[in-house]
């Protein structure tokens, strides 16, 4: 069954949609959209280093994403605001990464594959990594669900309950880095943030509880992956951007529906 490239692509898309759902909700709730986008862009440096050192792209991207978020968390609030630091490090990492890639000789590189994803080239090994990531993130988020929610609502409330908001933040950052690393092949560095933010933003319209929002986000993400891939196949358009276009349709339709119901 996995011999068919469309089947592998669909499974990869569903996997990425499922990991992005809970993370995307936290990104929307905690107003971390720019953080997510910047960390994703920084992963380009990881890709470049992986190619130069001939190690796994997933590993390189994960490492750089983690270092990036650790550095920003440590430095923020001293002399610069977080978004300034993100701007500095993320775009530098993206630029340095692109320069390194261009310097690697002997490797014929399709840069577009990393910037916009290459979901149709997903291998069995990629699928194992993606679904391993799905399982890991589901385990992490389910385990820490209530503490994460309390921390998001009010840090002092979390302290008073004996929780450590810094640890919860770390778990979130780690999960975000994993999500970014496994999404590169599917939607590409430039569109990872879209998969995080747009389905969650669309789901916000009709969600009454945090759990409902994650569920609706998952459904929107999975449907977008399936429909987007099918569309890309039929119209011969790039797969990653096609998936993101479908999420945008969801966002527009649900936002209009919400506005209509309110009247």
């Amino acid at each position: 069954m996995l011999d068919d490239f469309m089947t592998r692509a669909t499974l990869a898309g569903i996997g990425v949609a499922l990991t992005s759902a809970p993370l995307g909700c936290f990104v929307v709730w905690r107003r971390m959209a720019y953080f997510g986008e910047a960390t994703a862009h920084a992963a380009m440096l990881g890709v470049a280093l992986s190619l130069a050192l001939q190690i796994s792209i997933f590993g390189g991207a994960l490492l750089v994403a983690l270092i990036m978020s650790a550095v920003v968390t440590q430095l923020s609030g001293r002399n610069y605001a977080t978004d300034t630091l993100l701007g500095v490090f993320a775009h530098s990492a993206l630029a340095v990464g692109l320069v390194i890639v261009s310097l690697i000789s002997g490797v014929r590189l399709d840069l577009m594959a990393y910037l916009f994803g290459d979901i149709l080239a997903v291998s069995r090994e990629d699928l194992i990594i993606i679904w391993g990531g799905v399982a890991l993130i589901f385990a992490l988020i389910t385990w820490r669900w209530t503490p994460l929610l309390i921390t998001t609502l009010n840090e002092e409330l979390a302290y008073a309950k004996g929780l450590n908001p810094r640890r919860e933040q770390l778990i979130l950052t780690l999960s975000l880095a994993i999500t970014i690393a496994i999404s590169i092949k599917v939607v590409g560095i430039l569109l990872i943030a879209a998969m995080l933010i747009i389905p969650a933003a669309a789901a916000r319209n009709f969600a009454k509880t945090p759990e409902a929002m994650v569920t609706i986000t998952s459904i929107i993400g999975v449907c977008s992956a399936i429909v987007g891939l099918r569309g890309a196949y039929i119209f011969d358009t790039p797969a990653g951007p096609s998936i993101v276009c479908v999420t945008l349709v969801f966002f527009i339709v649900l936002s209009f529906a919400k506005a209509l119901i309110k009247q």
């Binding site: 905690r30 209530t146 609502l153 002092e156 409330l157 969600a207 009454k208 509880t209 945090p210």
Partner: protein
């Protein structure tokens, strides 16, 4: 209060100093909270009220001195507001069970006591200031706390609203015997509902019963002498005895 209670401090703050960077916001702060008493911390902006509260719940670390909580002290914390109110959808019903595992009948009766049971299906973000504080109070009481800690709970409420809220807090103390520690900078209404007022400005300027504190020169220097008239709006009349605080245990 009986004598032996003095040994039962819920919270002991000893010679506390809190620093942010190189500047101290609090120094030499000593404070005890005993079971069943209502203590209000007043002070101008930047006097370190919030830092003291944060230190007590463990959100900031003391750079000198220590804070000792009674072992396994159950704290009911009532924040000023929730972050990310609009982006995070959450109903009153879901919020009630977020921090405590309570059965529906338990949290319904908590909401009924607070007078907000009909708001069960509403979004937290759609509540008015007064409703919101009542829901937060009901949630905090679910864990049967030994002490309620309130961070400027009535900000955004008008004076009658605040007075009503503090009367409700007193009622809660009356019924459950839990201690209350709150901070405020709208002093008039709050102070009169307290057993003890602590006047803070980097350090403890003065403390005592509300009427004693108002007449102290340190207090008048901080807040001016003209506060007596406003205080009359809701003066706490101690015509009842808090005997049942002890019997409820």
């Amino acid at each position: 209060m009986r004598k032996f209670r003095t040994a039962l401090n819920l919270i002991t703050v000893e010679n506390l100093r809190v620093k942010y960077g190189s500047s101290s916001v609090l120094h030499s702060v000593c404070l005890n909270i005993k079971a069943g008493e209502i203590v209000t911390i007043v002070g101008p902006n930047g006097s370190g009220k919030t830092s003291l509260l944060k230190a007590i719940i463990g959100a900031v670390q003391p750079s000198e001195g220590y804070i000792k909580l009674k072992p396994k002290l159950k704290i009911g914390y009532i924040p000023q507001r929730l972050n990310f109110d609009k982006t995070l959808p959450i109903t009153v019903e879901r919020f009630m069970t977020l921090t405590e595992k309570a059965s529906k009948s338990t949290f319904m009766s908590a909401l009924q006591t607070a007078g907000v049971a009909e708001l069960l299906k509403n979004q937290m973000s759609s509540l008015s200031g007064g409703q919101f504080q009542r829901v937060l109070l009901a949630r905090a009481l679910l864990g049967s706390p030994e002490i309620l800690i309130l961070d400027e709970a009535t900000q955004g409420l008008d004076q009658p609203g605040s007075a009503a809220f503090y009367r409700h807090i007193e009622q809660v103390r009356h019924n459950t015997g839990c201690a209350v520690l709150m901070i405020s900078h709208d002093l008039h209404v709050v102070m009169s509902a307290s057993d003890r007022v602590v006047c803070l400005n980097g350090h403890v300027c003065c403390e005592g019963t509300p009427s004693a504190v108002i007449s102290k020169p340190e207090y008048q220097e901080l807040f001016g002498a003209g506060t007596d008239g406003a205080l009359a709006l809701y003066r706490h009349v101690h015509d009842h005895v808090h005997e049942n605080i002890n019997t409820s245990e």
